[in-house]
């Protein structure tokens, strides 16, 4: 099952705490996940902690799922950081700012492992 969703990224306390600690497991835990509400999670049959693959026109990334009931239906959130960056829109729309929010995405269950930060970066070299 696939979920058609709108993707946004943003800050969190834990992501902030680990901004200078980005090689750590703590940073992965803080920034490498995808949040949606439980109804959406139900639609794709994924339990919290299991991995989902988030894909947009600009790339895809596998991260563990978290539940956040504050998200309306169809809205998914990944904290700002390398995992979110794999799926954001790099086009700057004539004003310098890439698209970090409001990007159409497709989410589905994934059996792949979530990449670590160095693995993600290695893909880009």
């Amino acid at each position: 099952m696939e979920l058609k969703a709108t993707f946004i990224s943003g800050r969190t306390v834990d992501q902030g705490c680990n901004l200078e600690n980005k090689t750590s497991k703590a940073y992965f835990d803080a920034a490498g996940y995808c949040e949606m509400n439980s109804a959406d999670a139900g639609k794709i049959g994924v339990e919290p902690g299991s991995n989902v693959k988030v894909a947009t026109d600009f790339g895809s990334v596998v991260v563990p799922l978290k539940i956040c009931e504050g998200n309306p239906d169809g809205l998914i959130f990944i904290p700002m950081g390398p995992w979110a960056n794999a799926v954001v829109d790099p086009n700057t729309c004539g004003c310098g700012m890439p698209g970090f929010k409001g990007i159409p995405a497709v989410v589905e269950s994934s059996s792949e492992d979530a990449p670590t930060m160095p693995q993600l970066m290695a893909r880009l070299k």
Binding site: V13, L19, E20, F58, N71, C95, G96, M97, K101
Partner: protein, 433 residues
């Protein structure tokens, strides 16, 4: 030893009331700070020495500061279009040197606002910014609006020090003195603390702002029944709350700057606030991220006339986001060298941009190993400003304060590294001209 009145080198709140206990030149305790600030001041694993490698997939080898600096200068001096990015996690003194280095190498200097509140500056070019200092808001505000920002997560002490719970001269009952309204696309922790939460469809803030302007101007009759997913009656109700404020303040974040319309959202929000001033007093302020990202805009403006994204390739400053911001240039594969300092492009740029940065020599000046390090050829570790170094920083409301030094370390400061690179660049350029 306890050092009092310490400034926090994390977010744009620039809290200046921390008490830090230092023993044997080590921070052992941090009081009054939020979780993030305390974590930052206590410190993390450092890059221990300068490092270089020729192949980005290869291993780093430790080198001397002189070697790393000279090699960096050589790369920059011989580049046709170097990008000098970052600058937010440092003090103003080093930013001035950054602007000078950019003049010397004829490059582009761009700070992290580029992927944060850059659009806010573009909004200010359109409409200005009716604002004030944070104490003005804590003393007076009876209506507080958070639009597309989530201080509970991003600015943890903002609500208690300045916006929601803070007691002020006129707002002397703290939280009970104010009505708090949150506009967001999802019910955040901040929204959970609000009196009213208005859920806007992603990318439709601009239309909601226009509708509010029409309602405030008594032209509600043209507004359709639903705008941006919000029922008109709800918008009328909120407009009345805002209009009725003695002092209203709107704090906004990347929910506006990064969503559809980008700077136009800020432009429209500023107009709403300007028009509301015909009724009560109203202000608006961006929730800036890094503790001194505001400082870079200030320094860059007084040095070059422009707030950010300054292209010095022609010997005179040129500024045009959409053309001269980091991601504009990276996506066009225009740059031939990257100098990343006091900001982590690797962690906060889209993957495609980083991949393109990966194709050119990357010099990183930073105390910490981060995703930019993964893409770097040269890494130069420096002091942590505000912990190991004194200097100036501008709070999100452009009040400047002097950061304190808490401990001594042997690393050079960013400013010292920049000074040496500038000297070397001049030497190279002087020899060739």
């Amino acid at each position: 030893m306890i050092i009092k009145d310490v400034l926090c080198p994390f977010c744009g709140c620039l809290c200046d009331d921390l008490a830090v206990e230092v023993e044997d030149n080590k921070v052992v305790d941090v009081k009054h700070a939020c979780k993030i600030g305390a974590s930052k001041i206590k410190g993390h694993d450092r890059i221990k020495a300068p490092m270089m490698r020729d192949d980005k997939n290869g291993e780093f080898r430790e080198v001397s500061y002189d070697e790393a600096i000279n090699e960096s200068a050589k790369i920059l001096a011989n580049s046709k279009r170097p990008l000098l990015y970052g600058w937010a996690s440092g003090v103003c003194e080093m930013m001035k040197k950054g602007v000078l280095l950019n003049e010397e190498v004829g490059g582009i200097i761009d700070n992290t606002a580029s992927v944060c509140h850059g659009p806010s500056a573009l909004g200010v070019h359109e409409k200005g910014l009716p604002t004030g200092t944070l104490g003005q808001f804590s003393n007076r505000a009876d209506v507080v609006v958070f639009w597309g920002c989530n201080p509970v997560q991003a600015h943890p002490r903002h609500m208690s020090r300045y916006s929601v719970f803070a007691k002020g001269f006129f707002a002397n009952k703290g939280r009970r003195s104010r009505k708090v309204v949150v506009f967001d696309v999802r019910k955040t922790d901040t929204a959970n603390l609000a009196d009213d939460y208005i859920q806007v469809n992603p990318g439709e803030d601009y239309m909601v702002l226009s509708a509010l302007r029409a309602i405030v101007a008594d032209k509600a009759d043209v507004v359709p029944e639903t705008v941006g997913g919000v029922p008109k009656e709800k918008l009328v109700e909120v407009a009345e709350v805002m209009k009725g404020a003695k002092f209203g303040i709107v704090y906004f974040g990347m929910g506006l700057t990064q969503s559809r319309g980008k700077y136009k959202n800020i432009d429209n929000a500023v107009s709403l606030i300007t028009e509301l001033n015909a009724h009560g007093k109203h202000s608006i302020i961006p929730m800036r991220g890094h503790y001194n990202v505001t400082g870079f805009g200030q320094v860059c403006a007084w040095e070059t006339g422009f707030v950010n994204a300054v292209d010095m390739s022609r010997g005179i400053p040129y500024y045009n986001p959409g053309e001269t911001c980091s991601n504009d240039l990276l996506m066009r594969e225009e740059i031939d060298a990257a100098f990343v300092i006091a900001g982590d492009a690797g962690a906060h740029f889209p993957a495609q941009s980083i991949a393109r940065m990966g194709k050119v020599p990357v010099i990183q000046v930073d105390p910490f190993h981060n995703p930019t390090t993964e893409m770097a050829n040269i890494v130069i570790p420096t002091k942590v400003s505000g912990v190991e170094l004194e200097g100036t920083a501008y709070r999100m409301d452009a009040v400047s304060l002097r950061m304190r030094k808490l401990v001594d370390v042997d690393f050079p400061s960013d400013e010292e590294v920049l000074d040496k690179i500038i000297a070397k660049v001049r030497e190279i350029k002087g020899a060739s001209s």
